[in-house]
Amino acid sequence: MHEPRDFLFWPARVLPHLALLVALLGLWEWAVASGSVDTIMVPRPSAIMAAIFELYVTKGSIYQHFFITLAEAVFGFLIGAGVAIALAVSSSLSENFERYVSPYAVVLNVTPGIALTPIIIAWFGYGMGSKIALAAVICFFPIFVNTLTGLRQTDPDREELFRSFGASRRQVFTQLRVPAALPLMFAGLKIGLTTALIGAVVAEFAQATAGVGVLMSRFSFALDMASSLATLLSMTLIGLLLFYTMEFLDDRVVFWRRDARMSAVSRARARAWASGAEK
């Protein structure tokens, strides 16, 4: 989104933020140290740092949990997204399929998927299976609905134009409908990915032996607030990791929505065109 030369100015952009953050943390530390805030309820920033250091460096105990949760969220997401996209594509291609299947999807949508947690754990056990299943179930709907909406919102003028060029149904679908649906689909995938992480964590709260959710409840109930906040920050880290991966893909695939990417792609295509013309 930024111009390349923006890069040179990044300290100017980041420094005020950093200054504010440091000031806030300092104020917080001071408030706790001066005894005006309860240390058990609100740990000091330095205690949280110490907990992070312990979790990540001295003990290194978080990695196992971190990667288990990450894997649960990603696998759940892949399954949920796969089913959602397959169903959305089928629905957009067949009126009958849509008419008779989408009501069930709507019913699923209005049910809070989280309510299935105990049942899914009963079905899939205490291991990773149940976490993946819950993640898949609750990330299904945003992806399904966005993809279907995207595929259905066709511009009649453009479709007519395509048909006037003698395009086949298949060409209309792949050349017109799918590209037009991509922005919305990616928006759905982004929401879905965050939702999948929520599913994994909630299932871990309910019953599990490993994962950041387990860590979180353990620390919380031992009233070790510093460590639970450190764990929360780890979840944020997982969330950011997933979010930016999706953002990156979005940037690559739906390049025409971003100015900077658009000019990059247009330069690349111009180059390819030129070298093709030489041959």
Binding site: P16, T194, V202, S217, S228, G239
Partner: protein
């Protein structure tokens, strides 16, 4: 899509619509019958798929024979209402303030991104530990999961206000408060309502998670207990209850949306237009009488 259906019905496609409805019901009944049959023949593990008849019996039991679900529903929905109200007021208010103030927005942006990426419901154990077991921590959890969607939507509604209209307001010498009240908020209403819809759904999830952890009362606790006791039919009945509640919420919010953002639908335009013309005429008459 509903429009298409009604339209078809209106233009003499009645028999087609009836046929489609029949097909719907047919498919549904076939599925249920197959399921029942499967349970009856022992092909389906009752632990996984309790028979439809068993679920129906459970419905009867938890609603009437035993009648124990009412209390839990009452508890959970009360919490949802409290947390949702508090969370959305906070979200909309903060969203408007942050949206109108460029400097605050700039400094808050990284925190918003971080908050967006965090699975916010994960704070549940922490809040329970800090605030203790009971309603307070549950409401805090619901508030927290509700807060975000109205906040973000109000914020983006406020930021994306139409540029020309903004200039118009400025050229008419409107104050900041007037711009907010007369242009920004009304223009953002549809987006804010969409946020409220998400918030209400999240509130339902929030109360469930809080109850899963606290295991004292409420519909979440009920589902958990039934599942633990391997009474799957009753657990399913509870979940279907939530489906119904979810559906009612969905419909209710849709109605509310139509009502509040009346200028986005034909019927609303006609209704409000007529009402205003009437009010105007009454005022005019009062004027001439005086």
């Amino acid at each position: 899509m509903a429009d298409v259906v009604t339209q078809m019905a209106a233009t003499g496609g009645k028999s087609l619509r009836q046929r489609q409805n029949a097909t719907h019901i047919g498919i549904f009944l076939t599925l249920i019958l197959l399921w029942e049959l499967g349970a009856l023949m022992g092909w389906l593990d009752p632990l996984f798929f309790p028979a439809p008849s068993a679920i129906l019996t459970s419905f009867w039991r938890i609603y009437f024979a035993q009648g124990n679900i009412w209390y839990h529903l009452y508890v959970s929905l009360g919490l949802v209402f409290a947390g949702f109200t508090a969370g959305s007021i906070l979200g909309i208010g903060l969203g408007a303030v942050v949206g109108m103030n460029g400097l605050v927005r700039r400094f808050l942006q990284p925190y918003v991104i971080v908050l967006e990426a965090t699975p916010r419901i994960a704070v549940a154990p922490l809040l329970i530990a800090a605030l203790g077991f009971g309603a307070t921590s549950k409401i805090a959890i619901i508030m927290l999961v509700c807060f975000f969607a109205p906040f973000i939507n109000t914020l983006s509604g406020v930021i994306n206000v139409d540029r020309d209209r903004m200039e118009l307001m400025r050229s008419l010498g409107a104050s900041k408060l007037q711009v907010l009240r007369k242009l920004v908020l009304p223009e953002a209403v549809p987006v804010i309502m969409a946020g409220e819809r998400l918030a209400l759904t999240s509130a339902l999830s929030g109360v469930l998670v809080a109850e899963f952890i606290q295991r004292d009362q409420g519909i979440g606790t009920l589902i958990l207990t039934y599942t633990r006791n391997l009474n799957m039919a009753s657990a399913f009945a509870c979940i279907l209850t939530l489906t119904l509640i979810g559906f009612l919420i969905f419909k209710g919010m849709e109605k509310l949306d139509h009502h509040i953002a009346y200028w986005k639908n034909e019927a609303g335009l006609r209704r409000v237009g007529a009402k205003r013309a009437q009010a105007w005429a009454t005022a005019q008459r009062g004027q001439s009488n005086a």
